[in-house]
Each structure stands twice: as C-alpha cells, then as structure tokens.
C-alpha cells in the first residue's frame, strides 16, 4: 500500500534532522494557521498563488530563492563547523549525514536558491524593460514557478522522511546506482530535479518567445537593455541544455527503477557517458546563472554612474559569444580522467577563450564608470564587490583550465573556493544588487541604505575570510567532501574559515534586518515618482509598484535608453508628452492551473520516490486533468476599462509634473 515507506523512514535516532524537521514543520504550520486565522487566505489565493502576473511571479521566485538560500546556508554552517572540529576526531556529523549535507547544499544552492533568484529577477524586470504587459505565456509562467517550488519541497521533505542523496550534488554513477546507493536519497534528488527541470525548461521557452516576439513598438534588438540580452542568452541556454539534463537523469532513473544498464559497472554500462552528459548541461548551467547576473551589473553600474553602458554592442557580442562557447568546454570538469594531451589541450583553450569575452565585459564596466558621477548606493556596492571578487575568481578559473594545474587542484578545496568565488561573487552579489535595485519598483518603497551597506560589507569580508583559507587548504592538498581528516596543516585554515562563516551569518542577519526595517519605515522610504535611482530603461517610466498592465499605453521606443531620452525631452521642453488616448486593456485572468498541477506533481514525485504506484497513477492523472481543464476554458482575459487606465495613469503623470517643475531646463537630469 505504501511502497517502501514505513515508520522507520523517519530518522528517530538522528536528533539533528529530526529537531530541524520539527522546527521547520512547526513554523510552516504556524504560518499557515496565522494566514488562515487572520483571513489572509483569500487575498493570498487571489493575488499571489493564482496570479499569472509576471511581477508577482517574479517576487515569489525571489522569495523562494531567499528561503532556500537560508536553508543552503545552514548546510554550509554545518559543513564548515564539522571540518573545523573534525581534525583527528569524528566531529558531530557522521559520514552518512555529512554526505547528505554537502549533497543537499550544492543541489539547493544551484537549483533552488541561485536559479530562482535569477529567474525571479528576470520575470520581474524583463517584460517591464521591454515595455510590454506580460510574458508570452502567463499561465505557463505560473506553472513553471510552482513546479520549481515542488522540487524545493521534495528536497526539503527528504530531511525528515527518508534521506537525501549521499553522492554529491551531481550523482556520479556508479556510486549513484542502486547497487552502491540503495536508499531513496538519490531518488529524491532525481525526481525533485526532473519536476523542477520541466519548470525551468518552460521558463526558458517562455522567455525566449517573449524576448524574440513581444517587445514595445520600436524596441529593436539593439535597443534592448543589456539585462534583456543576457536574459535572452541565458534562456537560449536553458532551452538547449535542460533537455540534456532531463534525458541524462531519466537514464539514471531507468537504471535505478527498471534495471537498465546505461551507467552501471555491469552489462555494458558506461559511467563516463553520464559524466560527459551531465557536464554538457552543467557547464552551460553556470552561464545560465551568471549571464543574467552580468545583465544586472550592467544595469546597476550604468544607472549609478549616470552614464549609458560603455561599448553596448561589444557587450552584446561578448554575451552571445559566451552563450555559444559555453557548450564547448564541458570536458574541463574531468581533465583527470585521462583523455590525453590533444583533447585536454583543446578543451583547456576553449575554456580560456570564455575569459576573453568575460574580460571584455569587465573592461566595459570599468569604462562605464569612467567619466561618470558614481553614487555608491547598496546595489552599486554589490557591483563593485563583484568586479573585484569576480576578477579573482575568473583568474583561478583560467588557472584550473590549464590541465597540468588542474592535475594538482582538481576536486580540491581550491576548486571549491574557485566556484564559490564566481557564484557568490557573481550570482549571489547580483541577486542582492538586483533585489535592492528593483525592490522600490516592485513595492513602491526603497530598502534601507544603512542595513544594506552593512550586509554588503559583512558579506564581502566574510566571503574572503571563508574562501581564502579554502584556496590555501586546496594548495595544501586537501580534497573536497572530507568528513574528517588527520593532516595537521589543514586544521588552522579550517578554523579561520569557520570564523568567516560567522561573519557571513552576521551579513545574513543584516540582510534580514534590512527587510524588516524597510517595511516598518516604508512611509519615509516611499518612491512617489516611480524612478528612485534616476533610471534609464523603461521599467522606471511607470509607477512603483506598476499597475497590473505595466504601461497605460505601450511606449514608443526611439533609441537606446528610451526612458532617459523621454526625461531629457521633458526637461528641455519643460512639459510631459501630451496625454495619450486611453483605451481599455485586456489582461490574462488568474489561474490556479500552475498551483494545482504542481500539487499533483508533488504527490507524483513523492509516490515515485517511495514506490507507491497507485498514488503515482492518481497524481499523474490529476495533474494531466488540470491541464485539460485549463485548455477547455471559455474566458481567457478580462478587460480593464479605459477610465480605470486613465485614472491610474493620471496619478502617475501628476507625480511626474511635480518632478518636472523642480528641474530647470538647463540642468541635465541628475
């Protein structure tokens, strides 16, 4: 009846996951009760859970990313503290638990923290920057989000029911095959990623379509803001790479569930095939994360330098070059499998060529600052921190692309330090830069500067105190994923790194305080104008928060940086553009399709993990039925009457007129 699921699946004898699980469960129950008792449920259901508004979905993605970031960070604290005390001692985490912790840390941070952060910011900003009302397929967008949430839920469920993978964040066979990993851990990993992977692929399709087909009148490709370009590149990579991930994991699933032999030791399986395929997805994945991040930095640095982005066209070229070359470098993840000089040489050189395009970007950002009037707000500080940190991370990356150096450093803590160097310094810093940058647009008030600056400086410092020791430990020969060790030379560095994680915890605390303080003081931080940073692209031309339809009238784009030009014209002529003729707007209706589908996908995933076959049948049938029901809908859209559009837009114009009165014609908008 319940497949492999028994009462023994709950780790009664393991206090750490049991207590953690109970606490999370209690908090979740309390939160749900609070929502219901306070009567917020109808509001949440109507305005958020069933929303197909790209802005709301974006906010929910970012929220999911932040929650998972905390979960992954707790794993990080456990790993650093374990390695700090496990010198010549067992530490407090036994191997079978420690192995789950690092596997979960990697999986959660990449798939459920970094990805949602980037996709969330894309969701929020790209349609606004393109000057349109929504993405191409709004309901699909909501489905993508909820499928991602399903994956996150399944991974976290493994904390208390059963176990998570003990194989590392990429489950290399044969270790991940049934023979060597008989538990449900790898199955949790596989089904969580299969389900959320579908969501990510749908996002990719949605955004490629949106950017290619739906732009404001006059918004040619070479007038799109840089963030739209990098989002396009990232989503092209998603569309090309995620099917490879799905297929690869499907083969491993066939091995585990139906006794196939794709990657087994026996019967002609070949584990090298898995390692090739997983990195054919895995390396583009790195750029799926970091390209949108590059876009965010481009927006932030240009805005706060009060200058257009330097070398826009070469930025576009560099972005697309990275997009292409990122598919030709996967083998550098296993130079040490003995492919020979020619193969290693070619892939090493291809890898370092990516550094040319990245280098071009760095110089373009430098020259964007050159001749500017730089305001060091929190988003700009994150970008400065990125520039310095990322250059160092890029350097260690090219170093690892040199095969003989990789023969010494592969899989060492030096490698771990390198990819945290680029993912924290590149993606995470961009996440926070983007959140502080677009927060006033999303909610109508700015985030508190002081707490933001504190969070930045502590993160920046904490990062180096954690990861410089990891570089050193790698050079001292320490490999990754050690639960304990006996080499005395590594121990002092492990202690320093553990101290660094305390600093990063303080940074996380400041970040949380920033949200709390800002929400409490939202009246004094209010953004009346909708343009708190003196922005340049179209998202700043509408109100904060934007109305559900984004723009009363779709903007007519006449060049790069359209909003900057509109502002200039307004100041020169001392008047706003004439009031347009308002028309009724049709917007897609909310739909619970995504939520209900994901609900049944969660059930399906859980049933598959535990071999509860009847429940799997129910789940699949129900999830499919929801789609059929959605396809048969009669009414797709609702109308917002012209008077309502006019009323909202006149409010916005009122604020602009006040602003205009304060700006004399001779002064540039500064």
């Amino acid at each position: 009846m319940l497949g492999k699921l028994t009462i023994d699946a709950i780790p009664w004898d393991q206090p750490i996951p049991l207590i953690a699980g109970c606490v999370v469960f209690a908090v979740a129950i309390a939160l749900v009760l609070w929502v219901i008792l306070k009567g917020h449920l109808p509001y949440l259901w109507r305005e958020w859970i069933t929303s197909v508004d790209h802005k709301r979905i974006g906010v929910m993605y970012v929220l999911l990313g932040m929650v998972m970031l905390v979960r992954g960070f707790i794993d990080a604290i456990m790993m650093r503290s374990q390695q700090a005390i496990a010198f010549d001692a067992p530490g407090y985490l036994p191997p079978e638990h420690y192995d789950q912790v690092f596997s979960a840390h990697g999986t959660i941070m990449i798939f459920f923290a970094a990805m949602p952060l980037m996709i969330g910011l894309m969701n929020f900003a790209v349609p606004l920057q393109l000057g349109v009302r929504d993405v191409a397929f709004p309901t699909l967008n909501s489905t993508s989000f909820w499928l991602t949430a399903t994956g996150a839920l399944l991974v976290n469920l493994s904390l208390v029911i059963g176990e998570f993978a003990r194989t590392g964040w990429l489950p290399y066979p044969p270790l991940s095959e049934l023979r060597y990993s008989p538990g449900v851990g790898v199955d949790y990993y596989l089904w969580a990623l299969q389900i959320s992977g579908v969501g990510t692929l749908l996002t990719g399709i949605n955004f490629v379509t949106t950017i290619l087909k739906i732009r404001a009148p006059g918004m040619g490709y070479l007038r799109m803001p840089m963030f739209c370009w990098t989002s396009l590149a990232a989503n092209l990579l998603i569309v090309a790479a995620f099917p490879v991930l799905t297929a690869t994991l499907a083969m491993l699933l066939l091995d585990r569930y139906l006794g196939f032999h794709f990657f087994t030791n026996t019967a002609g399986g070949n584990m090298m095939m898995f390692i090739n395929l997983i990195w054919v997805w895995g390396h583009p994945e790195v750029y799926i994360l970091v390209l949108p991040a590059f876009g965010i930095y481009s927006e932030v640095i240009s805005t706060f330098s009060s200058k257009p982005l330097f070398g826009y066209r070469s930025m576009v070229m560099a972005t697309m070059a990275i997009c292409l070359i990122s598919f030709l470098v996967w083998l550098h993840h296993f130079f040490t499998m003995g492919a020979g000089g020619n193969v290693n040489g070619v892939f090493g050189i291809a890898t370092s060529i990516i550094a040319v395009a990245t280098g071009v970007k760095v110089y373009n950002w430098l020259f964007t600052m050159y001749g500017g009037r730089i305001r060091f707000t929190t988003p700009m500080m994150w970008s400065m921190g990125f520039l310095i940190t990322f250059v160092i991370g890029g350097m260690t990356g090219v170093l690892l692309a040199v095969p003989p150096a990789d023969f010494l450093l592969h899989n060492s803590l030096f490698l771990v330090a390198h990819f945290h160097n680029v993912i924290i310094g590149g993606v995470l810093f961009a996440g926070f830069a983007g959140i502080t940058y677009w927060f006033p647009k999303a909610f109508g008030f700015r985030l508190h500067e002081g707490w933001g600056q504190a969070a930045f400086w502590l993160s920046f410092l904490g990062f180096y105190v954690v990861f410089v020791p990891l570089y050193a430990m790698g050079l001292l020969g320490m490999t990754r994923r050690l639960q304990h060790y006996e080499v005395a030379a590594w121990h002092p560095w492990a202690l320093v790194a553990a101290g660094g994680i305390v600093i990063m915890a303080l940074a996380a605390l400041c970040q949380a305080m920033q949200f709390v303080v800002s929400i409490r003081r939202r009246d004094e931080l209010k953004d009346e104008l909708g343009d708190p940073w003196n922005g340049r692209s179209l998202e700043w031309s509408t109100a904060s928060p934007p109305p559900v339809f984004n723009f009363a009238v779709l903007p007519n784009v006449r060049g790069e940086e359209p909003y900057w030009q509109i502002k200039r014209r307004a100041i020169e002529t001392q008047q706003l553009s004439p009031e347009p003729r308002y028309e009724a707007i049709e917007m897609p209706r909310n739909s619970p399709t995504g939520f209900i589908t994901a609900f049944f996908c969660t059930i399906t995933g859980f049933a598959l993990i535990w071999h509860i076959w009847w429940l799997m049948g129910v789940g699949i049938a129900a999830a499919y039925a929801v789609f059929v029901w959605f396809a048969w809908r009669d009414v797709e859209e609702y109308r917002i009457p012209a008077e309502e559009v006019a009323r909202l837009d006149r409010e916005r114009r009122g604020a602009r007129e006040k602003w205009l009165a304060e700006h004399a014609p001779e002064s540039a908008p500064a």
Partner: protein, 282 residues
C-alpha cells in the same frame, strides 16, 4: 593519530612531475596577474575618482563608445589568452599523465585498485602487494596502471604531482617519480561514499637498496593474495591499517579490469532488500 606523513601540498613538490605541474601553474598565474592586478586597481581608482562628490572629475554623460578603446578592450584579453593557450597546449602534452618520464632507469610497475574504501597496490614484477601503503624507490620512475573495483576514485599524492581517475572496467595510467626520500600523504580525490574520508594512504619513498629490502621483508610475511583473498578484501571496510601480501596471483589485476572478478557488491543486501534504512542507521 595524526599522520606521520607530511603534506606540504602541491606547492612543495618532491618529484619531477610535481615540479613541472607547479611551474606551469605559476607561469599561468603570473601571466594573468599582469592584467588582473592593474584591472582591479583601475576599478578602484575609477570608482573613487568619479564618485559623485568629486567636483574635479569631468562628467561625460554621453561617452559610451570609443573604437580605439574597444580594440584594446578586446585585444588585451585576447593576447593574454593566446599566451595562456600556448601554455595550455604545451603543458597538456608535456605533462600528459600517460607520457613516460625521461629516465635512464626502467620504470617500476605498480598496479593500483581502488576499493571501498582502501587502496590495493600490486607490484606485478615483484609478485607482492600492499594495502594503504605504497613504497617506491627514489629517483626511479613509477608506472602506475589503475582501475577501480567499484565506484570512481582518483589517485593523488599531492607532493608528487598529477592525479588520475580510477574507474571500473577501465585502466588509466600515470607516471610519477619521487625525487627525495620521505613519507608523503596520498588520498582519493574523488568522493566515493561513506568511507571516503579514511581512504588515504602513505607513499613512502626510500632509497633503492631500502626498497629491495622492503620487498624481501614483504615476501616473508602476510597473507597470499589470490582470487578468494581479493573477494574478501573487496568487501566494504573502513580505516584499514596498512599491511602487505607475501604473494599475488598472476593476472589478478587483469581479472579485475576485465570484470572476470566481479565489481564489488556494494552495501550488504543492497538491491534485494526491500526496506529502507535512512542514514545507514543500525
């Protein structure tokens, strides 16, 4: 007990391969530092000088393109990477782990099998074997042939240089040489399961005559390594103390590689057992 073996890490190599790897690493690092340091400095200087409060800095609100600068912007990274590309190409050929080392001595043959979770070293010509301890003569190249009895591992002695993966059903090769006598830390550099952290060994580099003496001693003591012995050894075990085998059945390594001797069974009752024990409890 802390290991007696020192681990100075990859920056204190004790043999020609480690020396050459490190040299390549330093060369690449130096080439990159030549542009990384000025770039970071420029980022800081530009940001500071063009701060909004600095009235002496000239504001150029429309300056967003310069053909000459673009040329430099693309040119500098391109030149550096061409330079590094040369280092990569030459390095990956010169230091290909499969390439024999130049030496007037015939290399010592050692066959390596990674097991869950220990290392088996077979000396086919000497017809002895050891577990979790590798003794090699100094100044003589060692030719390793490596495979795995179960999951993937990576054979790595940081102070001697290059690592190489071990995989079931496949043979990889590696040439190393110890330049100086000493005890060096060796480990697996590829996570292989719960016993991974104890999957390290000591490489003892000794003078050639001491090495012969060790061989002679090893032949006097310890069990014989035949097929039954190998299957017993391949059961999962952790923290295995080093020991030697007085003799090795010929062709044992080939039998592992060709899977004539089956891959390790994995945890007890792994496939058949219907119940699930989370976290390996009890």
């Amino acid at each position: 007990m802390p290991l007696a073996a020192c681990s100075g890490g990859v920056l204190e190599p004790q043999g020609p391969v480690g020396d050459a790897d490190r040299l390549i690493m330093f060369n690449a690092l130096e080439i990159m530092l030549v542009i990384v340091v000025p770039t970071v400095a420029a980022a800081l200087v530009f940001a500071w000088w063009f701060r909004a409060a600095n009235t002496r800095a000239r504001y150029r609100p429309d300056w967003a393109y310069s053909g000459r600068l673009e040329l430099i912007i693309w040119g500098i990274p391109l030149l550096v990477i061409m330079f590094i590309g040369g280092v990569i190409w030459i390095g990956s050929h010169q230091l290909d782990p499969y390439k024999a080392l130049a030496s007037r001595h015939k290399p010592l043959e050692v066959q390596v099998v990674s097991l869950d979770w220990k290392w088996l070293f077979i000396y086919p010509d000497e017809r002895i074997a050891s577990v979790n301890e590798l003794v090699v003569p100094t100044g003589i190249p060692v030719h390793f042939s490596l495979t795995s009895a179960s999951v993937m591992n990576s054979f790595f002695v940081p102070q001697l240089g290059s690592m190489i993966a071990t995989m079931n059903g496949m043979v990889t090769q590696l040439y190393l040489e110890a330049g100086h006598p000493g005890d060096f830390y060796g480990e697996s550099a590829q996570f292989s399961g719960d016993g991974f952290s104890d999957m390290h060994f000591t490489l003892r580099a000794v003078a050639a005559d001491r090495f012969q003496q060790w061989i002679a001693e090893a032949r006097q003591a310890g069990p014989d390594l035949d097929r039954a012995g190998y299957i017993a050894l391949s059961e999962e075990s952790q923290k295995v103390r080093p020991f030697t085998y007085r003799s090795v059945e010929p062709g044992l390594f080939q039998a592992v590689v060709t899977r004539e001797l089956p891959p390790e069974p994995g945890p007890p009752g792994s496939i058949a057992s219907p119940s699930v024990r989370p976290r390996g409890a009890k």
